[in-house]
């Protein structure tokens, strides 16, 4: 459903050096790599925040660059780093903002908007905060509300830039389980940028490993997350064995 063809991007030098890959329907793609590899840049190019120097981005065979802001927003949901909210805003209002591209520019939210908002809030277990102010929520609760806002427009592609960074392990697992559930249905795909290698190995259906603006490996977690690849990309003494419960690759450090 997403086709990335020879994407290049420069910022005081080449950042992305011609990336080509595809994401299929229902895939949960983990984007891994060291800091500075270009993961966030790639994600911003997909969402449309940045424009590539060259190359093509197709979503369901439509050129992303040709879409209007509203059309693009209906197709792609984006969860990024948290920003501080300086005004009194309830969680429900925050989630309803995700329906902006669905509605008319002037006017109030429709019944459908409200129904969808309640639905995704039930899904993300945030319904109980509907009337609480976003600033009053804990980091984990806020992250779930952000996910709800990205989901409320029923996007085809969900893009998450380090969504679990501020969560404890239980919430990290819950969030990724939820994303996995949503992609397993086949209607939505997800790209997750994360530093949590083991969570990626557990939940991702495919992994894209990047280093210095290039793709090192792309495929199943067990094919991509090998010691050879990981040591090369991360320049760290990593060893890979197998998670005894799931059979997925498990990454640990080998300090000598």
């Amino acid at each position: 459903m997403l086709e990335v063809s020879d994407i290049r991007f420069n910022y005081a030098g080449p950042v992305l050096k011609g990336l080509t890959f595809a994401v299929r329907d229902g895939e949960l793609l983990a984007l891994l790599g060291p800091n500075g590899a270009g993961k966030s840049t790639l994600v911003k190019l997909i969402v449309g925040i940045l424009r590539p120097a060259s190359g093509k981005l197709l979503l369901d065979d439509r050129d992303l660059r040709a879409l209007s802001r509203r059309e693009a927003a209906r197709l792609i949901g984006y969860v990024a780093q948290e920003s501080v909210v300086m005004f009194p805003l309830t969680a429900l209002e925050y989630v309803l903002q995700g329906r902006f591209a669905q509605g008319r520019l002037i006017g109030f939210e429709s019944d459908e908007d409200l129904r969808e908002a309640r639905r995704v809030m039930e899904l993300t277990e945030t319904a109980e905060f509907a009337s609480r102010r976003v600033q009053e929520l804990s980091g984990g609760e806020r992250q779930r509300v952000m996910l709800a806002r990205a989901l409320v427009a029923q996007p085809r592609l969900l893009v998450l830039d380090e969504p679990v960074a501020n969560l404890d392990i239980a919430h990290q697992v819950k969030m990724l389980e939820l994303v996995k559930q949503l992609t397993d249905g086949g209607e939505m795909s997800a790209i997750v940028v994360t530093h949590e290698l083991n969570l990626a190995a557990e939940f991702a259906s495919s992994v894209l490993l990047m280093k210095a603006g290039e793709i090192t490996a792309h495929g199943l977690p067990r094919d991509v997350m090998t010691e050879c690849h990981l040591r090369d990309v991360f320049n760290a003494p990593l060893i890979v064995d197998t998670n005894p419960a799931s059979g997925a690759p498990r990454v640990t450090i080998a300090r000598s």
Partner: protein, 353 residues
């Protein structure tokens, strides 16, 4: 498209809690504010050095609206229709404009402490107006236009100065505004001080906020202010998203750059128009939107019109106080707004620390 379900969830204590803005809530708040404005308008027009019967006042006001002739003495007609009413309307228009401009800057800068006076935009407008007074004194229409240009240039300057590598840093923007304000205010005062005698008095009285001075410009100012408010209101929903995060707003479908430019221009138009007739009045843009948010939440679809009405009411009240408390002398209206506004501002700062 009315809601089919309740949007007020009761808490355990049985008190309804606000979840989001509904059409009903909007209607209720605006009705209350409108009634307040009407009452204050009647009070403002009633109070004055000459006492005029309320019945007469109401007759004249109705006649002004309906255009029919009215059976009152020419003196009373003059006092009410040519002096008090235009002045009251001016106060309402300026108050509405400043409050909405404040709300707009707060949304654009994602900071509840922004307002056109703090950002120096009012001073830029004042400088434009003074330039017009000096160079095009015979053309009163040049003042709001020159003030608008001054406000726009100042906005662009402060905005550019306030950029950091991470894009918008609202603290840096406010700092840039404070510094620019200081610079421009001193230039304004310099020009005023060097103005010739009688000219100086009228310029000073304008500068510190004189609602009764330029009523001939009322229709033009009202037009600019209403246009500005309308443009900002059309973008209210986009501003709701921008207020949280520009990046998120972009990803959610807002044409961020277009909305920002449009709203900045509209806010400058309002600020310029109001400064041109009433000098640089501070605090209205700061405290009115904040008070509205405390009562009704941050949804700009409420805050914009509510601030317009509440700002109008506030300045109407302030002007009435300003011209009666030490009658026959008049206090500058900026004194009243500062006396109310500064403590509120201090309280805000304290609360948000």
């Amino acid at each position: 498209m009315m809601m089919s379900e309740t949007t007020m969830r009761p808490t355990r204590a049985g008190i309804a809690v606000r979840e989001r803005l509904t059409a009903r809530r909007l209607a209720v708040m605006l009705t209350v504010l409108l009634l307040t404005v009407v009452v204050l308008l009647i009070v403002a027009v009633t109070i004055g050095s000459e006492s005029v019967k309320l019945v007469t006042i109401l007759k004249i006001m109705v006649a002004e609206v309906s255009g029919r002739a009215v059976d009152v003495s020419p003196e009373n007609h003059l006092i009410i229709a040519r002096i008090r009413l235009p002045r009251a309307l001016m106060a309402m228009v300026v108050g509405a404009g400043l409050a909405v401009a404040g709300a707009a800057y707060q949304a654009l800068l994602k900071n509840p402490l922004a307002d056109p006076a703090i950002l120096g935009v009012s001073s830029g407008g004042a400088l434009g107006a003074i330039a017009a007074m000096i160079f095009a004194g015979s053309l009163p229409i040049s003042r709001p236009i020159a003030a608008f240009i001054g406000a726009m240039i100042t906005t662009a300057f402060v905005y550019a100065l306030g950029q950091s590598r991470q894009g918008d840093s609202s603290i840096r923007l406010i700092l840039a505004g404070v510094i620019t304000n200081a610079l421009l205010s001193s230039i304004v005062i310099f020009l005023v001080t060097t103005a010739a005698g009688a000219r100086q008095r009228s310029v000073i009285s304008w500068l510190i906020g004189d609602m009764g001075g330029e009523t001939a410009l009322l229709p033009l100012v009202a037009l600019f202010v209403l246009m500005g408010i309308a443009v900002i209101y059309i973008n209210a929903r986009s501003l709701n998203l921008l207020m949280v995060s520009e990046l998120d707003a972009f990803a959610l479908g807002v044409e961020v750059n277009r909305v920002k430019l449009t709203v900045y221009i509209a806010a400058s138009l309002i600020t310029g128009a109001t400064v041109a007739v009433s000098g640089a009045i501070g605090f209205v843009g700061l405290i009115i939107p904040h008070a509205m948010r405390l009562v009704g939440g941050s949804d700009n679809r409420l805050i914009i019109p509510a601030s317009a009405l509440a700002g109008g009411a506030f300045l109407l009240l302030a002007d009435t106080i300003a011209r009666t408390v030490i009658a026959p002398l008049e206090l500058p209206i900026g004194v009243i707004t500062a006396l109310v506004g500064a403590p509120v501002f201090i309280y805000l700062l304290w609360r948000t620390s």
